[in-house]
């Protein structure tokens, strides 16, 4: 094109070869420019179309995410309502059963154990609220808070009783934690009744791929603080109270009670699957 343009400039007259070539050159140049601009334009269009597609996909993905999250939230909320209602029924059942006991127990003691059980239920819900996925939470802070409350309400310090815990890093869910919390409440409360108990230990350890063990032991005597001897059945055939038995059964656990220096209750139970990831 450059050569043609030079030829055009050097030659003068109309209808000469230079003139013709000049026109052809102009036509060609403007065509090339036109094509170039069109190509640029098409490129821009393609780019815009691509951006539009990407944005649309992104919006669709985000909408799907949000819809999913909303559905998940609804499901979770309904689940929570269900659990709360179920636990209200558990509390009502406890009150009903205690009100039906033939031999009247001292009222403060009765109210005290009921309050402890209700506290255990409430604590599970509190731990769930703080958990990362609203489903599983760490057993250690839960058990420690539970035991601390039991110690406070029994005035452990004033009575010279030390509570100690040894807890593995294990995650638990509500279905597991409710009976576990109630079990610890019953066992620790029982240990406080054993005369001369100075240390009450609560251990929660992993003892197999899908197995955990809860052990509550004390160094008290085999009679209670008022001098009444403990139920001999408890010592001889390794049976716990009806409530302890029932909770162990709810957890599919195996109960073992031994008496050496004090009383030792050991319960082995399977752990819900995901808890092992903890």
């Amino acid at each position: 094109l450059l050569a043609v343009n030079i030829l055009t400039l050097t030659s003068g007259g109309r209808d000469t070869l230079g003139w013709l070539l000049g026109r052809a050159s102009w036509m060609l140049s403007s065509s090339i420019l036109f094509l170039f601009l069109m190509a640029q334009f098409a490129g821009q269009l393609r780019f815009l179309a691509h951006v539009k597609n990407t944005l649309e996909t992104e919006v669709q993905r985000r909408t799907a995410d949000l819809t999913g999250a909303l559905r998940q939230r609804d499901l979770l909320l309904r689940e929570v309502y269900h659990r709360v209602k179920n636990n209200m029924q558990v509390i009502d059942s406890m009150l009903f059963l205690e009100s039906r006991k033939v031999s009247p127990r001292p009222t403060p003691e009765l109210i005290d154990i009921l309050r402890k059980r209700v506290f255990a239920l409430g604590l599970v819900h509190q731990q769930l609220t703080d958990s990362r996925n609203m489903e599983y939470f760490r057993a250690a802070p839960f058990i420690r808070a539970l035991v601390e409350n039991l110690g406070t309400s029994q005035a452990a310090q004033e009575h010279g009783v030390t509570l100690e815990t040894g807890i593995d890093e294990i995650e638990v869910n509500l279905d597991f934690a409710i009976p576990l919390g109630l079990l610890i409440t019953e066992l620790v409360t029982n240990s406080f009744k054993h005369a001369h108990a100075q240390t009450i230990s609560i251990f929660f350890h992993r003892c197999g791929a899908h197995l955990v063990n809860l052990t509550v032991q004390d160094d008290g005597a085999d009679y209670d603080t008022t001098g009444i001897k403990l139920d001999p059945d408890v010592m001889s055939n390794g049976q716990g109270s009806k409530i302890v038995d029932g909770l162990v059964r709810q957890l599919d656990g195996k109960l073992e009670i031994t008496r050496d220096k004090g009383m030792r209750t050991s319960i082995s139970m399977p752990l819900p699957e995901e808890g092992l990831l903890g």
Binding site: R78, H82, K85, M88, V90, F96, Q250
Partner: protein
């Protein structure tokens, strides 16, 4: 002919309360199960006059599954469902197994008694 009631409930305290309530009505409890499998087995074994069935149970199967299986046995007992869930999906499944009654948790003794009397007369 047994006059026993089978209780299917995985929550210990609720199960205990149901037992006491049934005994208060002058009936006896012939068994208590915590899983669907156990419920089906005990229903075959004891031929209860009534089954009180919690919907959510331990294990992979729920109370509706258990009731379905129990309904296939010879002379199936009536089943009263007890559930904390009012989800339409659950209610629809309960309706599909021809339940004799449905109690929503939390319920009162009088409600249970009225329903039991209505079901087994």
């Amino acid at each position: 002919m047994s006059v026993g009631v089978l209780i299917v409930e995985d929550e210990f305290f609720i199960s205990e309360m149901l037992s006491v309530m049934i005994e208060d009505m002058g009936m006896s409890v012939c068994g208590s199960a915590t899983t669907a499998c156990e419920a089906v087995r005990l229903a075959r074994l004891h031929e209860p006059v009534l089954v009180l069935m919690d919907v959510r149970l331990k294990g992979p199967k729920d109370g509706v599954d258990a009731a379905l299986q129990i309904s296939t046995q010879e002379k199936p007992p009536p089943v009263i469902f007890i559930t904390g869930s009012q989800e339409s999906a659950t209610i629809a499944r309960i309706d599909a197994v021809h339940s004799s009654g449905l109690l929503i948790k939390p319920f009162r003794f009088e409600q249970l008694r009225a329903m039991v009397e209505q079901v087994i007369g």
